[in-house]
């Protein structure tokens, strides 16, 4: 019984660690240590999506960027270690009748904390 008691204490401590990790991650976003800036440009009927990301926190981040235009889908992945700053881009040829582009950025911090950022953008040719 004592062993189970000690084991549960270890899990309580692990939980406290997880909570502090989560709070630190949210604070890092609030303080601007983690910044993700998506930029869009339409050039010659082509949509250029550029994601500029900076990670000045102690967390390891994985960004999955997904762009959907009608049936078309483009995606890319960014891995950000502490102190990293990366830019990646994708381009999609737009059909004439396209009016909206859906952007989804999935952020996975330390392989456990997951966030989804979505936005529907209006395209003006």
């Amino acid at each position: 019984m004592k062993t189970i008691g000690y084991l549960s204490l270890i899990f309580y401590l692990l939980f406290a660690l997880f909570i502090f990790n989560l709070l630190d991650f949210v604070m890092a976003i609030e303080q601007g240590k983690i910044s993700i800036e998506p930029n869009f440009e339409v050039i010659n009927n082509k949509l250029l999506i550029r994601v500029n990301s900076t990670n000045n926190s102690f967390h390891k981040l994985e960004l999955r960027v997904e762009v959907r235009v009608g049936a078309q889908k483009k995606s890319f992945q960014l891995l950000l270690n502490p102190g990293d700053s990366k830019i990646d881009q994708a381009n999609i040829t737009l059909a004439h009748d396209v009016k909206f582009v859906n952007l989804t950025i999935i952020i996975i911090a330390d392989e456990i904390l997951r966030m989804n950022i979505t936005k529907s953008l209006e395209v003006r040719n």
């Binding site: 019984m1 549960s8 899990f11 604070m27 609030e30 904390l113 997951r114 966030m115 979505t118 936005k119």
Partner: protein, 131 residues
Amino acid sequence: MIRRRVLTGFKSALLSAMEFIFIAVFYQMVSLVLHEPVNLTSLAPFIIIGIILGFLQGFTDRTPFALIPALLVFIYELFLLVYFSRALSGETLISGFTVQYNFSIVMMPLIVAICLSGISRIFKEIEKLTS
């Protein structure tokens, strides 16, 4: 005899109060960062129920009824866990972007810890009853 039981009950209630205040503080901290601060008075009923259960656990110690409060505390802790995990998921709007988050996975170690401590407490009571 009754006086000793009441004293043990109060001691157990105090420990229970500390445990539930600790959980409430964690809940408040997480809510403060992710949403908005929770009114602490809204958490008072949860703490009071926890204290009453703690008192019952101490009061019924070394009696054939000791298993009932131990089981109740275990169930109540699991219920609180599910209730509080709501604070870890949600949706917000930041500069036109819809941000959805679900951090309830951080509750996993707490579920395991509560199950282990609950099981150990229940077995301890069974051992006391059978010995």
